[in-house]
Symmetry: C2
């Protein structure tokens, strides 16, 4: 649970960060994706405090990123699963992992991924339209339909609006 809610921010990045914007949450999601989906297993895998894990799992379920599969009633025992929304986060987490491979692990990947096409996976963010890999220089921003002046984008909104006129 982030220290502050970004719900009122007119910014989808902030809203995403409300869900996965902390140190442990992405690791929890990765674990669930890799099949480490039970409370004790995740706690042991990550070495995270149980209180925090319980808190985060509840948050992720409430936010619709994780779902629960009951495998034992009374006492209720649950496997955590990725929802559709959660599954859409996986490629982003893989891309972030590979950024870490390149810039933090000296190119030596602790974990390698393979794609169903058979290749050792190199995840890249591409333009859905022209298909070319995205680089920062090729991207521009402008206010969208959901945009408005609100905390989190005060200065940005000013500038983009000014530039647009």
């Amino acid at each position: 649970m982030p220290r502050r809610s970004f719900a009122e921010f007119a910014c989808s990045l902030a809203r995403s960060l409300d869900v996965i914007g902390d140190t442990w949450t992405p690791l929890i999601l990765r674990d669930v994706f890799l099949g480490v989906d039970k409370f004790n297993d995740i706690a042991r895998d990550l070495g995270v405090s149980r209180a925090l894990l319980a808190d985060r799992l509840e948050h992720l379920v409430r936010e619709g990123v994780l779902g629960e599969t009951v495998y034992h009633q009374r006492p209720r025992r649950v496997r955590y699963t990725l929802t559709d929304g959660g599954r859409e986060l996986v490629p982003i987490l893989v891309a972030l992992t590979q950024w870490g491979d390149r810039w933090r692990s000296g190119g030596e990947a602790p974990l390698e991924f393979t794609h169903e096409c058979g290749a050792s996976l190199d995840a890249e963010v591409a333009c859905g339209d022209c298909g070319r890999p995205l680089v920062a220089e090729s991207i521009a921003a402008r206010p969208g339909p959901g945009g408005r002046m609100a905390p989190g984008t005060v200065v940005i909104a000013e500038r983009l609006t000014r530039e647009g006129t």
Copy 2:
């Protein structure tokens, strides 16, 4: 600064999160990318506490994600810029923003991006080899050259090794 350093984790995701794994850092990087690159501007834009911002900026510079361009000596005044490593994070942040557009903002993007190809940008994570968009189901994991048994991947390492044999 996360509550705990993940440096000893044999996991590039954890190492990435050591750099950008908190609530404010990705927003700071987005601001710098969008040209909001001075201390006061970022502080005002995000409404973040100045102590935290100073801390994070220093951290990001130390980690090589941001650089400084001195625009005034004595007193030293600086614009923050993205390094090569930092620029490679931008597409990932855009992808995360658009995940938020889809799942948190009801499809109404507060901020829209355009690609140099002319299209309204739809950032997707694709396989660098076959070019198809990545979905969670098409990805498998196996231990890589940098892998070892260490905190953060205890259970995962066990399982992947067992499966591999």
